[in-house]
């Protein structure tokens, strides 16, 4: 994975000092909160329901064990002993003091980490496939391109005061494991007929209040024009994105209102102009970055596991992903224990995961946007030993992609934007379906819960989605069905009137019962819904 050179290190160090100075000026009263807010947001520091919250960047979800251990130490030293892994592959700490923030950033800088641009109207953390560099089905590791874009977008002087936040995703497979089509810019690294590697640009996706799937803007951008093309897309947005209404300020609205053709025309015009300005980094830089992502030295070994222990086998069958090397798999560490808070991990658990990465995965981890952790390169021969340790640390839930593997935003328990609590709902659904044995029967079922219309829980992309709303001061929940964030991307549809907390749990039971009654063959919930439509589900819910 990428290692900072002295230049990179100097950048994060300079940023820490810049922020330390800004925080000092805030505490001295030289900056009002209105002036300080965008500055602290650009260092990931929110003011949330209970305290300041710090969102630390984990670039494209990749980190090493030293960094992971540092994240665990920060949870214990500066917070209340735990951290929360997010739907954008970052980590959040909920109980931060402003007077500690610069010191925390300094501690992060020591392990080549930061909280730069994890909030604010700027280019955010660039996300990627959590199996990148390990999976059997990518054409190339997308992360060097993500790193190139990360550097380009860091402290970009033209794009620091955009109309709104900007989220970029880079993948390199036809299988979309990163919700790429639901980003402001989604880049798929592809090969053309001449077997040349280039970038396919999708622009204008997103969830939130008005979910949209990003249309393709350009089929193939040569690699030596990648940054220039991205710059053109951003410049058109910075100039023409709406600034009159916060809820219509994302690029998806601009693309939608101009139409894909007109937006593309404007981008191509700006792109032609920028090609003469020499903004592209030299190709040697991409090569330099790519060297950091070369494969570890894989060894041949067992290609199968001993299947005599059913608990172990269940975990292997659910929580491992096929690797490009046949003696290895990628292993998913679930942060969704039954009845637990999705994505939360204690300082101690984080350090355990760090140690396991060092021991079993060439010192590397990934954070999934589904709020789990991946050890990307685990020898099949080591799986049983790994699983035993995970199980002992309450990290061994064998539930990947089942209903228990739900995404939930922090909701009204933590977030100032929320209308309803999402976490108690997640806990109760998880417990209920585990106790009844239904998790097993339902198979692949992606449940996503958002506590407000900002959709940080990605409910629009849930096979089953739940949205918390405020109904005259009382929490209420809307149910939606049929969303997908994978390459078969679709947006979920609301079933009808909302429910109370108890009511929506019953509703989830009912719709899953409809699926079990009506499924054909090996259909997933999503497939059955797509085949039979909304009516049978509506009938069961509302009579």
């Amino acid at each position: 994975m990428y290692q900072y050179d002295p230049y990179d290190q100097a950048m994060v160090d300079a940023r820490v000092e810049e922020f330390r100075d800004q925080a000092r000026r805030r505490l001295e009263g030289k900056l009002t909160e209105d002036q300080f807010k965008p500055l602290r947001l650009m260092n990931g520091l929110y003011l949330q329901l209970h305290a300041y919250m710090l969102r630390v960047a984990i670039p494209y979800g990749t980190l090493n064990s030293r960094q992971m251990a540092a994240l665990g130490d920060i949870a214990d030293k500066y917070d209340r002993g735990y951290g929360h892994f997010t739907t954008r592959q970052n980590i959040q700490y909920n109980w931060i003091k402003l007077e500690d923030a610069a010191d925390i950033l300094a501690d992060l800088a020591k392990v080549e980490m930061h909280a730069i641009q994890t909030s604010g109207n700027c280019i955010r953390n660039i996300s990627s496939d959590h199996f990148a560099g390990a999976t059997y089905d990518e054409i190339i590791d997308p992360r060097p391109y993500a790193e190139l874009m990360r550097q380009w977008s860091s402290f970009h002087p033209e794009f620091t005061y955009l109309p709104r936040k900007f989220k970029i995703c880079v993948i390199a497979s036809d299988r979309d494991r990163a919700a790429m089509r639901l980003h402001d810019i989604g880049v798929q690294i592809v090969k053309n007929e001449a077997d040349e590697v280039g970038a396919r640009f999708f622009v204008g996706g997103g969830m939130g209040r008005t979910p949209m799937v990003a249309p393709m803007i350009r089929d193939f951008v040569p690699l030596d024009q990648l940054i220039t093309y991205a710059e053109a897309c951003l410049r058109v947005y910075n100039r023409y994105g709406r600034r009159d209404n916060k809820y219509k300020a994302r690029i998806k609205i601009l693309v939608h209102e101009l139409g894909k053709e007109e937006y593309t025309r404007q981008v191509e015009e700006e792109f032609a102009h920028l090609l003469d300005q020499g903004v592209e980094p030299p190709l040697e830089e991409l090569a330099r970055i790519a060297e950091h992502f070369s494969d570890p030295t894989f060894e041949d070994g067992a290609k199968t596991v001993d299947r005599s222990d059913p608990d172990f086998v269940l975990w292997v069958d659910r929580n491992t992903h096929r690797h490009k090397h046949d003696s290895y798999v990628s292993a998913v560490i679930s942060l969704k224990p039954v009845g637990g808070i999705p994505g939360d991990a204690t300082g101690e658990q984080i350090r355990i995961m760090a140690r396991l990465a060092k021991q079993y995965s060439f010192d590397e981890l990934r954070i999934m946007h589904t709020q789990n952790v991946v050890l990307p390169h685990v020898k099949i021969a080591d799986l049983h030993a790994l699983w035993t340790e995970l199980d002992a640390a309450d990290l061994g839930a064998p539930n990947m992609d089942t209903i228990e593997d739900m995404i939930a935003c922090p909701g009204l328990d933590y977030c100032a934007l929320a209308n309803a609590r999402s976490l108690p709902l997640a806990q109760r659904i998880s417990e209920r379906f585990d106790a009844s044995g239904k998790t097993e029967k339902l198979g692949e079922l992606k449940l996503k819960i958002s506590g407000c219309i900002n959709a940080c829980g990605h409910h629009h992309a849930g096979h089953i989605g739940i949205l918390g709303v405020d109904k005259k001061g009382v929490e209420n929940y809307q149910l939606s069905l049929g969303g997908s964030e994978a390459e078969d991307v679709s947006l979920a549809k609301i079933t009808g009137p909302g429910f109370t907390e108890d009511g929506v749990i019953e509703a989830v039971e009912k719709v899953t019962d409809v699926y079990l009654e009506r499924k054909e063959g090996e259909e997933r919930f999503l497939d059955t819904y797509r085949r039979i439509g909304m009516e049978p589900f509506k009938e069961a819910l509302y009579g």
Binding site: D5, Y7, A10, M11, A14, E18, D21, Q22, R25, K30, Q35, P38, L39, N121, Q151, W152, S153, S154, F155, H156, P157, E158, F159, T160, Y161, L162, I227, R235, N238, R239, R243, H273, L274, Q277, G278, V279, P281, P282, E284, E285, R288
Partner: protein, 158 residues
């Protein structure tokens, strides 16, 4: 007679040019394009900077207004003007605060007329925030002409 809507030399707190400050009435983009003798223009966030392209040679001063520091359109306007060959004074006016100075400078602004005067020490520190920069902007574009800085990406491969 077009209204003089610009800042005056007294309003300029920081300037990185040696030449004389323009002492001409500053007009709006619309007025500029109708008149033939305006040499100072003020761009608002919603103006298209490229409308000025036919007049760049005779403009001595372009003011870019930032009614709110959070409205970042002026940064694009500045870079576009420089990229299209404008060499006159490019002045950031309005809600210009300490924490925007270094980015503005990078985008090609060489004069600053904040509505509220800024602390000189804080400003000096702000202009000097970044020893190196990752990406190209106006300050590194000039390096092809022989002056100013290189991006650190270029430095790595020299």
């Amino acid at each position: 007679m077009a209204e003089d809507i610009g800042t005056s030399p007294d309003d300029v707190q920081f300037r990185f040019r040696d030449d004389e400050m323009a002492d001409h009435a500053t007009v709006t983009v619309d007025a500029c394009c109708d008149q033939t003798n305006a040499t100072a223009v003020r761009i608002e966030p919603s103006d298209d900077a490229r409308v000025l392209l036919p007049f760049l040679d005779r403009l001595a001063l372009v003011e870019v207004n930032f009614p709110s520091f959070a409205d970042g359109r002026g940064y694009s306007a500045a870079r576009i003007l420089r990229e299209e060959g404008y060499t006159g004074e490019l002045r950031a006016v309005g809600d210009v605060l300490i924490d925007q100075l270094s980015h503005m400078r990078r985008c090609g602004f060489d004069a600053f007329a904040p509505t509220s005067p800024l602390d000189e020490d804080d400003a000096a520190r702000a202009f000097a925030t970044w020893e190196n920069v990752y990406q190209h902007a106006e300050d590194t574009r000039q390096s092809r002409l022989g002056n100013a800085r290189r991006t650190l990406v270029e430095l790595r491969h020299e």
